[in-house]
Assembly symmetry: C2
Homo-oligomer: 420 residues x 2
């Protein structure tokens, strides 16, 4: 699709955006007052979209438009079907996740544009974790989000007709699927020119990773799952930069990578990025030990609440095509199904560990890095904490059997953090 724009597509900003919004009665009414008085602020943060906050006398909206090229480099083309992908995902999950994501007021396929709730005064979680601020409800909110978004789009809930109709809408978006396949599951494990890392400090560890067949196989197995496991509709990029927070509200945003895939990829993305935040703390100045423990506590809460919510949803709404209810009505079968549900979430925990590990590795030795570590200006200090995160990740991939509970995971993270 690169280079071929939808008929009538144009980048909307300034007056053209103002005209566009004022022509939509629902949006105009929401903003209120005269269109000429609306304030437009471009707040684009990621690489792929133009994002505006628009404020009127009566209210605010956020306008997100997919661009046909990387925002900061017009020569790097990116197909626009990711916009339709994001809209399709939101339409599928918003009925289930409610206020855990921004409300959507309008989709426009031709302009690959979404008009949605303005998240004001929300801040991006990743930066807040760097700044050492606490948001007691964030892990619970993201856990509830993943539990609901994944359960209600899985075969545990859906009849097969609905599941396959939904799946049909997520077989495109190839460019973003390829980004995931390469940047997460392939590039960090061999000498690809896009990779970068804190050099020379991490050179030996990078060489070790690339020379470790068992590690590469573990990553490749997860990559194969990403491609062929249609367990549920997943967000696909659920790191701490895709969560916006206030003291008492948390929202998941930016699902352009949405696809059918293993639920563990969403679990591992968020857990892995909490671990990045945890490991970064000693490099961020001041006494961060207690705050690091708070981050680990959020990780524990994330898993515990996801597990509880997912099991509760299955018990209450397990009417889907998989594990047909009618087979497990008698008491003995009901007990067996409960044991199977425990086994199923146990497998999700294993998946969380694996996907968290590859997400950690890619952010330290791959193409796109995380601000948690990038904020640490001194390369030696940065490499020291990156090494700890990498060691944990390598251990999770190579000896997953040593971590069977979330407490094991916290203990392993603390052990690496103490090692210097």
């Amino acid at each position: 699709m690169s280079g071929k724009l939808p008929h009538g597509y144009r980048v909307l900003k300034g007056q053209s955006l103002r005209d566009y919004l004022s022509a939509r009665r629902d949006v105009r009414d929401r903003l209120g007052g005269r269109a000429g008085d609306w304030t437009l602020a471009e707040v684009s943060d990621g690489n792929l979209n133009l994002v505006h906050l628009v404020a009127g006398a009566g209210g605010r909206v956020c306008v997100k438009q997919a661009l046909p090229h990387v925002r900061v480099d017009e020569s790097w083309l990116l197909p626009l079907d990711r916009g339709a992908n994001e809209s399709a995902y939101l339409q599928a999950v918003l009925p289930h996740v409610g206020a855990l994501a921004p409300a959507v007021y309008a989709y426009d396929t031709r302009q690959t544009l979404i008009v949605m709730e303005a998240l004001v005064p929300h801040r991006v979680l990743r930066q807040e974790l760097i700044d050492g601020r606490r948001f007691p409800g964030v892990a619970a909110a993201v856990a509830a989000y993943v539990a609901r978004a994944s359960f209600f789009t899985s075969d545990l809930y859906l009849p097969l007709e609905r599941k396959f109709d939904l799946l049909a809408g997520f077989t495109g978006n190839h460019a973003l699927k390829r980004i995931s396949a390469e940047l997460i599951f392939r590039d960090p494990y061999y000498d690809n020119p896009r990779n970068r890392w804190t050099s020379p400090q991490l050179d030996p560890l990078v060489a070790e990773i690339r020379a470790d067949p068992a590690l590469k196989l573990a990553a490749a197995r997860l990559g194969a799952r990403f491609l062929a496991d249609s367990q549920a509709l997943i967000h696909g990029d659920l790191h701490t930069g895709s969560v916006m927070v206030t003291a008492d509200d948390s929202r998941v945003i930016d699902p352009e990578f949405a696809a059918f895939g293993p639920i563990g990829l969403d679990l591992g993305a968020f857990a892995g990025n909490l671990l990045l935040a945890y490991f970064a703390q000693p490099g961020l100045g001041g006494d961060r030990a207690e705050y690091g423990e708070w981050v680990l506590g959020q990780l524990a809460a994330f898993w515990t609440i996801f597990r509880r919510d997912f099991l509760a949803l299955w018990r209450a709404h397990g009417q889907g095509e998989a594990y047909p209810r009618v087979l497990f009505a008698d008491p003995a079968s009901a007990r067996a199904l409960e044991a199977e549900q425990e086994r199923y979430v146990g497998r999700l925990f294993s998946d969380l560990l694996g996907f968290a590990a590859v997400k950690i590795i890619r952010r330290i030795v791959g193409f796109a890095h995380a601000a948690d570590f990038e904020t640490i200006a001194d390369p030696t200090a940065r490499a020291a904490v990156e090494t700890r995160a990498l060691r944990l990740a390598v251990g999770l991939l190579k000896t997953p059997e040593t971590v069977t509970t979330v407490d094991d995971l916290l203990a392993a993270a603390r052990r690496e953090q103490r090692h210097v």
Copy 2:
């Protein structure tokens, strides 16, 4: 789609079929002579289609048209998208399986019709197995077919763009997907009015199956895999009635159930139906012991050749998105990948066992039975051999760890056959 026919669709038979074929130059040339002299013979055998053999002075063709209702019951409507599904599958796999399937001369989406090679003098394998005839090459041919059709449509071979484009074409065909989900993985395990079995002889065993939580869970896990595992494009109904044979030629036909799914479902369908043929032998009259051993030998050859072919294809053409080649170039990694390939086909063998078991169970206690047993008129004799097949299947689902090689499987089958 039930009740809504494609614009212009009409059932073609007699003169309308003759007119239709003579209007297609490629078909007319192939048949040769004058259209008025062609002989048309309806040879419909399954429940879902109208099949004609058409012969002219110069050659023959087979015409298969999907009907909007079950052939023998016009009130039982069945959507026509299965015709497009079959065409899409054939177009995807024919370049890879060559003469292991009939050549296709024309697809017509509007008439949901395929003009293909007439398989004359081929016979349906299931009946030949009932009649006790030997076809030395059949297992090898079906093994090569499954290896090629599945490998070349898997992530081991395809770039992700091609895989997801292909997947998009197989998200419909809901009616046939539902038939599989219900008749294979659900109905046999509870009191569904569609079920039937040799009664009262099998009543205790049927009750045992329905009351066994571990067995039902095993079947439900396989059902969940059927819905969510997009390992490769599979035939979806590869029993011995979907294979046509002569002394030196074997062809796989009738892929209207084609879908992305676990490769083990095709492996298990063919293996399970060979086991049905094996267990039926003592009830079919005469001394069948030696012939039964020939059938088991074909089962062993089927797995051995599939395994060899699939591994050889992966080694030669493993250029796909999964297990990226570039990660496994050095000698140590290449060795590790070889071990992983063995592990992968080992998992396919486990899958074969599970899917073979549910396929056996459905044909004895479910809705649609197999001629192998139905041919045995005496219910007591039939129940005796059905019991043995059921016992093997239950064992495969409940204690799969006791069967780790195809020799173990043969030994287990012989043990059940000796038990009376």
